[in-house]
């Protein structure tokens, strides 16, 4: 279908973008892989699209000390293919490589995906496991929030009207850490029915540090701290992992839709968590 008429603006600075976005009928275009399909179906009908592609300072990936800083307009493909990301934060590269299809990865951006906050998006699992932070800018200044505070609920973020995501920061991965992202994919949409990201650091044959992020299971992605605690101090054998993932969905109000019932999603969460942890443990040195 053809979208309703709209204006298209290409600001060349953040200030200009903020000015254009002060119109409540304007909407940010940051890749458009969710927005444009919705406009074509006329589910969304913004009067103006403000394309951030030409705004300097929103692209690029750089290393600053032990922190990897990713600009909001960096595409999934850039993340998946960047030698810097693959080396210093392989989990982020793996998450990006698992998103949608080639077109989505070439056009879609990390900032756009985060601001959209689809409950089945891939990034949140990894960003929770990485304890990432999100830098937000507005005409009145900047603030940085943790990923846990940023993702408030289904399609709901900590962004206030007029604010933009400008950067996502993740820590440089520890030496010898093993990471993995495993998802049960919904083939038509490419979204995760359930996706689990795992980071494991071993010391003297034991798991010294574990971080587990889960997406798709409920209305909001989360860090499975209970699973992490049960893994830490074990050798990461099959029985340790089985015990640790058994309660991954405890107290979680699991989603229920035509693709998977709540009970089946809970089951998938255990299966995919175990797969992600097994893979991460085997990759950890």
């Amino acid at each position: 279908m053809i979208p309703q008429n709209f204006d298209y603006a290409t600001p060349e600075s953040l200030e200009e973008a903020f000015r254009l976005l002060s119109d409540p009928n304007a909407k940010v275009l940051a890749g458009g892989q969710s927005l444009i399909p919705m406009m074509r179906l006329r589910l969304a009908a913004p009067e103006t699209l403000v394309d951030l592609r030409g705004v300097p300072g929103l692209g690029g990936i750089r290393l600053e000390g032990r922190t990897l800083r990713v600009g909001a307009m960096v595409t999934h493909y850039e993340l998946e293919s960047s030698p810097l990301v693959r080396k210093s934060c392989p989990l982020l590269a793996e998450a990006a490589a698992n998103i949608g299809d080639v077109q989505v990865r070439n056009c879609g951006t990390i900032g756009g995906s985060l601001a959209h906050a689809d409950p089945a998006a891939d990034y949140p699992a990894s960003l929770h496991a990485l304890e990432a932070s999100v830098r937000i800018a507005s005409p009145s200044g900047e603030r940085t929030v943790s990923i846990a505070d940023f993702l408030v609920d289904t399609f709901t973020t900590a962004l206030e009207p007029g604010e933009l995501v400008v950067e996502v920061s993740v820590p440089v991965e520890a030496e010898g850490a093993g990471v993995s992202y495993q998802k049960c994919v919904q083939p038509a949409s490419g979204f995760a029915i359930v996706g689990v990201a795992a980071r494991i650091v071993k010391k003297d044959g034991e798991i010294a540090f574990a971080r587990i992020g889960v997406t798709g299971l409920s209305g909001n992605a989360f860090r499975a701290t209970g699973v992490e605690k049960l893994l830490e101090g074990t050798r990461g054998d099959a029985s340790d992992i089985g015990r640790a993932v058994a309660g991954i969905g405890d107290g979680v109000d699991a989603n229920n839709d035509i693709h998977a019932s709540a009970a089946y999603r809970q089951h998938l969460a255990r299966v995919y968590a175990a797969r992600a942890i097994v893979a991460a443990v085997s990759r950890a040195k």
């Binding site: 589910l43 913004p46 959209h116 919904q186 409920s218 989603n255 839709d257």
Partner: protein
């Protein structure tokens, strides 16, 4: 689609029941509600603007309260139609004292149709739950300041 869940409100069932039937409170707490006008005993005309991620749509609808059982339960029937689809909901809310507050349990059927259902199937359950949670959060906030 069946929906069920519960929320705990920090006030006694009598107060919770009255708040849940107060059109001004309902209008202030329902996400996107722009207007709620009484058109008959227990029936209200509603205008609502739903804004969810990139989706935004205007809905015209009705809210009806039926089978009232003061302070313990009532039925809530909601229907709305807009350009992007329609929704119908019929559910029972049951109030029970819990510690010093009230547990509100809801159980019902929601039907969503039109474009938004055709493409948003995977999101209806999650989104309905979030809207209901937002409603109760707002209710606590409003009641706390009143």
């Amino acid at each position: 689609m069946k929906i069920a869940g519960s929320h705990t409100l920090p006030f006694a069932p009598e107060r919770a029941y009255n708040l849940l039937q107060d059109p001004q409170i309902l209008a202030a707490c329902m996400p996107g509600c722009e207007q709620l006008v009484k058109i008959a005993e227990d029936t209200y005309q509603m205008k609502m603007k739903m804004v969810l991620a990139a989706i935004s749509g205007q809905f015209d609808g009705k809210v009806r309260i039926a089978d009232p059982n003061p302070h313990t339960s009532f039925r809530l029937i909601v229907e709305g139609t807009g350009k992007i689809g329609f929704m119908k909901g019929d559910g029972r809310l049951t109030l029970a004292p819990k510690d010093t507050g009230t547990e509100v349990a809801y159980e019902g059927d929601v039907q969503v149709g039109g474009t938004m259902a055709a493409v948003g199937q995977r999101l209806i359950d999650t989104t309905s739950k979030m809207m209901i949670k937002r409603f109760f959060d707002k209710l606590c906030e409003k009641a706390g300041s009143a």
